[in-house]
């Protein structure tokens, strides 16, 4: 029955996946086209942000400020942070979720396809706004990606259109785009699951996206409001945050971190989802403790709402608040620890295949454990008082954002590449990419920890000579990391154009996305699947759906 329906899908012209590259430059409402649009756009900005990072590390290879002007340096780190967060990590994960979530829950598209397209097309607008700020008098914003007033309110050029104004507009638009995305994801997951797919039959990636997008819904309005208020202070002379006119600059920090710490979980939760999808496939075992791992995602989302003050321990925050937020912040490690143990137990006793996606997931997991441990240190008020705003923090969050998020993203791209493109990637180049990225990440970000413990501050363009040794190592790591993207780009481009044709399910994985053809047809399913069992049924010959070709027969066929 299923075979027939799939054949019909193949014959019908209307249902064919996009065959021409120009499709990706149109206002398409197909969630898969939008997913690829997000992924490719964000990767281009990842390269831009990476070039900024290498310029910064080039400056920091010597103690003096001698490569670029201090103003240029300040603009560079501001734009590096902004681009990497708002134009790489968020959009790339939204792109992946856009591609996968509807298929994974057995839907034909997102709940609001046009809203989805509008949300995507705001991303290039944000990118153009930010990049154009290099050409306004005074250059781009120089207040860091936190944009703390009063520094962000100082406007030495005197022009109304300046880098900071463009920056704030970009952040506000990015916020609106993400809120649109969040509404769409939450509605899709709640309303559009296939028959039989109860909440506890959803893949963990869907659970993770669901939890992350709930955070977007309650958090983003705060950031967006903060950005708009700051914009008013800067342009029309209101005094929300300007202390010289009676405003309160610390209030901005509350607005900012009320979203921007939970934002870390918006980014990391989908990565946890990716890990949870990948470890079972390449270990040939079900995910250990599925229900607990699913619930822990929601718990992380809930706790994330009460941790923001840990960024402000030393900004005049009263003692009782420091201690309260210390406890809530540390509590995040409980649901996170549950996940880590579950992944380790999944791998344990499995039949492990070290493919490129598995390598990236394992490397990401190990670096995440490291980041989690330094995270606990940072949540402890007395230790934080010492290392706050030093390179220890920079090292910690780059272990989260590069070591875990970017590595997890690579794992996901490799894992679902055959599904998305219908082609196989080159495994050898994938392995080279992994080792360059893994060594580069550690060489780049590990030295930041001793630097921070010694007291080297973040955001400095020059530093005391005794910090030189570790800075040289970090800079070499940064250049290696830059190089590591080359085999990836090469591999993806060549494989996409002329890679070996991929079967529908090259990894013998269980999940609805592997039951349809590669690349999937428009509207995904000719016939909506009826789900009859839980995900991750490895080691148990049980069909996943009642009407589509089931996993057990797939394995026998090969």
């Amino acid at each position: 029955m299923t075979n027939i329906s799939l054949e019909i899908t193949g014959e019908s012209h209307h249902h064919e996946p996009p065959t021409h590259w120009k499709t990706y430059f149109t206002f398409s409402t197909d969630h898969k086209v939008i997913g690829i649009q997000y992924l490719v756009t964000s990767f281009i900005f990842f390269l831009v942000g990476g070039i900024f990072a290498m310029i910064l590390r080039g400056e920091l290879i010597t103690p003096e400020s001698d490569l670029i002007d201090r103003t240029v340096y300040n603009g560079m780190f501001t734009m590096h942070g902004t681009v990497m967060l708002f134009l790489w990590t968020f959009p790339s994960l939204v792109g992946l979720a856009n591609y996968l979530v509807p298929i994974m829950i057995g839907a034909r598209d997102m709940a609001f396809p046009r809203l989805n397209a509008v949300a995507f097309w705001m991303v290039p607008v944000v990118g153009i706004l930010l990049m154009s700020s290099f050409f306004v008098p005074g250059g781009p914003a120089q207040a860091g990606w936190w944009a703390y007033p009063p520094v962000s309110l100082q406007n030495p050029t005197g022009h109304l259109i300046n880098g900071q104004v463009l920056w704030l507009l970009a952040v506000a638009i990015s916020g609106v785009s993400s809120i649109m995305g969040a509404v769409n994801f939450v509605t899709t997951i709640v309303k559009m699951r296939a028959p039989g797919m109860g909440f506890f039959r959803m893949p963990l990636f869907v659970w993770a996206v669901f939890s992350a997008q709930i955070i977007q819904l309650f958090g983003l309005p705060a950031l967006t409001a903060g950005a708009v208020m700051l914009l008013f202070d800067l342009t029309v002379g209101t005094a929300f945050f300007d202390p010289s006119k009676g405003g309160n600059p610390v209030m901005f920090q509350h607005y900012f971190w009320f979203y921007s710490h939970p934002a870390v979980y918006v980014i990391i939760l989908p990565i946890f989802g990716i890990f949870s999808e990948i470890f079972p496939v390449y270990s040939r075992k079900p995910l250990f403790g599925y229900k607990v791992v699913a619930i822990s995602s929601i718990l992380i989302a809930a706790v994330s709402a009460i941790v923001w003050v840990h960024h402000m321990y030393v900004s005049g925050t009263p003692g009782w608040m420091r201690l309260l937020f210390m406890v809530t912040t540390m509590f995040v490690s409980v649901p996170t620890g549950i996940k880590v143990f579950a992944w380790v137990a999944t791998i344990w006793g499995g039949k492990i295949k070290l493919t490129t996606p598995m390598m990236f997931a394992l490397g990401g997991l190990i670096m995440f454990v490291f980041a989690g441990i330094t995270g606990i240190m940072l949540s402890s008020v007395p230790v934080d008082v010492h290392v706050n705003n030093t390179y220890f923090v920079v090292g910690h969050f780059h272990y989260v954002l590069y070591g875990t998020v970017t590595m997890g993203m690579y794992a996901a791209i490799y894992h679902w590449f055959p599904k998305m493109t219908g082609r196989m990637f080159n495994e050898g180049w994938g392995q080279i990419h992994f080792w360059l990225a893994f060594i580069g990440t550690n060489l780049n970000f590990l030295p930041m920890h001793p630097l921070g413990l010694q007291g080297m501050l973040r955001r400095v363009a020059s530093y005391a000579p005794e910090y030189t040794f570790w800075n040289v190592l970090a800079s070499l790591g940064a250049f290696l990391l830059g190089m590591s993207t080359l085999p990836f780009i090469f591999n993806i481009l060549i494989s996409w154009l002329q890679g070996e044709k991929a079967p529908d399910n090259p990894w013998r994985a269980i999940g609805l996305e592997w039951l349809i053809s590669s690349p999937p047809p428009v509207e995904n399913f000719e016939e909506i699947p009826i789900v009859i069992s839980a995900p991750y049924g490895y080691g148990k010959s049980e069909p996943l759906t009642a009407n589509l070709e089931n996993h057990a027969t797939l394995i026998e066929a090969e």
Partner: protein, 308 residues
């Protein structure tokens, strides 16, 4: 009990022992990663840090060695297409590994809380009235209780002014202004932190102490320097173009030397101090081709009795 099980248990115990010993060793090393301990508070913080490194090293080694063991010994053979055992979960195990992090978190939080209270870096609180012998401290408070470890001698009171991009220290009792912060050792000192323009951060790595300075607010900050020597004070909160240049020397000396310095400094005639931001700014504006973007003009160099 069969021999295999006993062997497995022995392996596990040996592994656990090796990891424990290694973690304790790494924890001891943690002290060497930090600057000299120049304030009483730094001992407390370093002990806590060492403890966290020990616990962290144990967790990291336990997880990574388990993963590496699996990856090494549980690899699928080539052409082995079969699945692993269908194990979905284990309630006992899941309860145990939820309970352990909770206990650990409570332990770390309690220890951190205790250290933070002993530091007593700020005046006592009006905001919370716990029935607790030691009250929690806040930034806004005016009064002061002398913590147990301080000597009975009156506190030194020094005003600290931060501006783009210079530190100015004012000794109100003597009428001295300086760009170098002199402190007596083994005396509790109290600073009143103020900012003229933007957020700044008062940070001396050798003291392990840091406090943001919010414009329009006076923030009390106190600690006890214990080790004579020369240290550096940096601005820890990003403050604009010349942020990296905003540094000052901190001289901790014996109370006698400190008083000598006060006597000497008061006799100096106030002169404008050297300032790196101001001189860099003057340099760039003299260039015929401006490479940099426009920047906030540095505040005028402070006029002080003593510049270090």
């Amino acid at each position: 009990m069969n021999i295999r099980l006993i062997l497995n248990l022995l392996t596990l115990m040996t592994g656990g022992l090796v990891i424990t010993i290694t973690s304790i060793f790494i924890g001891k090393q943690a002290y060497f990663w930090l600057p000299p301990q120049a304030a009483a508070e730094s001992h407390l913080i370093d002990d806590l840090f060492s403890f966290l490194v020990t616990v962290g090293a144990f967790i990291f080694l336990a997880v990574t060695s388990t993963v590496l063991y699996s990856v090494t010994f549980h690899r699928a053979k080539n052409y082995d297409m079969s699945d692993g055992p269908h194990i979905e979960g284990n309630i006992t195990l899941e309860v145990v590994w939820t309970a352990i992090p909770i206990m650990l978190v409570l332990w770390i939080a309690a220890y951190s809380y205790q250290v933070y209270e002993q530091m007593g870096i700020q005046g006592p609180s009006h905001l919370l009235h716990l029935h607790n012998p030691i009250s929690i401290q806040t930034a806004d408070a005016q009064e002061k209780e002398t913590p147990a470890e301080t000597v009975s001698e009156p506190l030194e009171k020094i005003d600290v002014l931060a501006k783009q991009w210079a530190w100015v220290f004012h000794y109100p009792e003597k009428g001295i202004t300086s760009t170098e912060l002199h402190l007596p050792s083994d005396r509790r000192v109290r600073l009143a932190l103020q900012s003229e323009d933007v957020l700044h951060g008062f940070y001396i790595p050798a003291f392990r102490l840091k406090q943001d300075i919010v414009p329009g607010k006076t923030i009390d900050f106190e600690f006890t320097p214990i080790r004579p020597g020369k240290y550096s004070l940096t601005d820890s909160q990003y403050s604009g173009t010349y942020f990296a240049t905003m540094q000052a020397n901190v001289i901790v000396e014996t109370p006698e030397e400190y008083h000598e310095w006060l006597e000497k400094a008061v006799s100096h005639i106030p002169t404008p101090a050297k300032n790196q931001a101001a001189s860099e700014y003057a340099q760039t504006s003299n260039q015929s081709i401006k490479t940099g973007w426009e920047t906030v003009k540095p505040a005028a160099p402070p006029v002080v009795n003593f510049s270090g």
